[in-house]
Assembly symmetry: C2
């Protein structure tokens, strides 16, 4: 079936294209009878008005985009739901765009801004070390959501929402130390990481230091490059290696809940138990951390609140109600069955 054009409608109605356009756009300069007749023909022929033409007049395409690094992360999944829901409430649409680990998200954003006439952008996940010059190429508002910010970025200029990953990670490690653990392994991001992974690792280091525990580099186990980052599969593979290495530890802190679940599985398969042989802790507060057997001690991030606030700020920026905003949410340590005091 060929697409019906405005010309076809004009021919069918025996009027000019301008008259059809007036009917569509509810222009005052057309009689009610003619308008109704034209709209009827449009309806019968399932004609979809060319929206680009209408956009030119209305000068607003109500679309925002969410650019995600790490789309497979279930933590982001919860946030996406809220993004979509809140955007819909504002009668906007939400384009979902994955960014590869090695892709420059600003280049992706600039391209998308042009192509889709976006009104705003949410950057979700990954890290942000772009120069002001580069960021200034983006002419629409954006908010950084749960993103690691490096020093180069002037944090005051841009809007962002997250938890304090350093502080929350410190809190978890401090908790494990408080249970008497001294040999605390960590499943962390790669050492070249500049994102939340780095901040969580630094919180771990700081807590050990405060407790006077000598840092043992053999207990730092980085996620594998060739497996999806922050995933159960990655935690499983890393923990298998740790157990096989023979390096002694009594607690294992994984910087995401999915990693922690994989770690538990590797421990069970090695014929050991949690928390009797090894205490295991995670980070994020996914549902599975509660439903797992045993339930997993974790840091619960308020994902819904973070997502809502991200969209709230983005629309305040779009409507020029604010110049920039920063919001850090407190997270909550959930002490559960996967950790216990060292005897």
């Amino acid at each position: 079936m060929d697409t019906i054009t405005i010309k076809d409608i004009a021919n069918l109605c025996g009027v000019g294209v301008t008259t059809v356009s007036r009917a569509i756009n509810n222009h005052p300069d057309i009689s009610e009878d003619t308008k109704q007749m034209i709209l009827q023909v449009i309806k019968e022929n399932h004609y979809v008005p060319n929206n680009s033409a209408r956009n030119l007049k209305r000068s607003a395409s109500k679309t925002i985009a969410v650019l995600i690094k790490g789309i497979t992360n279930p933590f982001f999944n919860r946030m996406l739901q809220v993004f979509e829901q809140e955007t819909q409430k504002k009668k906007y649409s939400c384009i979902l765009q994955r960014v590869d680990e090695n892709q420059d998200e600003i280049d992706v954003a600039i391209e998308l801004e042009k192509e889709k006439r976006l009104k705003g952008i949410v950057f979700l996940g990954g890290y942000f070390s772009h120069s002001k010059e580069k960021l200034d190429q983006l002419t629409i508002p954006f908010v950084l959501s749960t993103i690691g910010l490096t020093q180069e970025v002037d944090q005051d200029v841009y809007s962002w929402v997250s938890v304090d990953d350093f502080q929350e990670s410190y809190k978890m490690t401090d908790y494990l130390c408080g249970l008497g653990h001294k040999k605390i392994a960590i499943i962390s991001a790669g050492m070249d990481d500049e994102s939340i992974g780095k901040l969580r690792y630094e919180g771990y280091r700081k807590a050990l230091e405060h407790h006077g525990i000598k840092f043992n580099p053999n207990l730092v186990r980085c996620m594998k490059d060739d497996i999806e980052s922050y995933s159960m599969e990655n935690g499983y593979a890393v923990t298998r290696e740790l157990l096989q290495s023979g390096e002694e530890f009594t607690a294992l802190y994984a910087i995401s809940d999915s990693l922690a679940v994989g770690a538990c599985k590797a421990i069970f398969e090695a014929g050991k138990s949690v928390p009797e042989d090894y205490s295991v802790a995670g980070f994020d507060g996914l549902d599975i951390s509660f439903y797992y057997n045993p339930s997993i001690t974790t840091i619960r991030q308020p994902a819904e609140k973070i997502a809502k606030e991200t969209i709230r700020i983005l629309f305040d920026l779009i409507h020029k109600k604010t110049a920039s905003e920063h919001r850090i949410f407190a997270a909550q340590l959930m002490a559960r069955d996967s950790t216990k005091p060292l005897k």
Copy 2:
């Protein structure tokens, strides 16, 4: 900062708007020097050409939409990743749109088609019982992905991709019967459900019948309306009630893995174990079904394949390489530690 318009660029360059437009659109009727000068000014001023105007010339907005019922379902999360990836390969963008349980997805689709000049639509999840008349109002191609189709829909006219939910559910129930279980409870969708939930329930009924097991309505437990459907939380709540009811059963078949995880948690909390006291089985093949403790017997749907095929068919429809296609993928029964023969 006000948005820079094409007029501003024209003024800055000392040329007319038409000349700027020619430079942008690589029109032959402009000298190379003038073009370069204009493009330089555009670059320096971060001017973003009005894309709707360009769209009119190019007459293509490269966007598809995915309309999801049940956006919180982790099974869909895996598929979304693939949708996004495959769409990006084709240089298209992907709009993500949630549809509420009580919303008419066709109305949402028609609205979106108009607003965004979509090239195609994927309907994901939920069920489909729309009349041909209604569906004909959509003038762009669409594919139904993992959707329950009711009799009213002429299946040959529309394209769809899924597993055979009835047959796969039969397979799982048949497996439990084969282990000697006769009192097999099911966590199913509501009895008014018309989607995959209904098909999976019917597969369960059929397998019981074939094994000569008398159907016991007290062992059919519907998901709760006021809790997210197919979720861990729902499986947990339903199983607690089942256990408290005192109704005897030896196996529990949940029609999603998330429900099965919640069910296991309720069983553990009641001081019972899986599979020693109760065999538990799920459906979908989520990662967590393997990493859970114990690992959960399930039906593994080939989510990536289903998603890829959905996009492949959609683009074949867009490019008029096909009129309609249907693809049913085989799923795989994964026998794991959460089920055992009845002693």
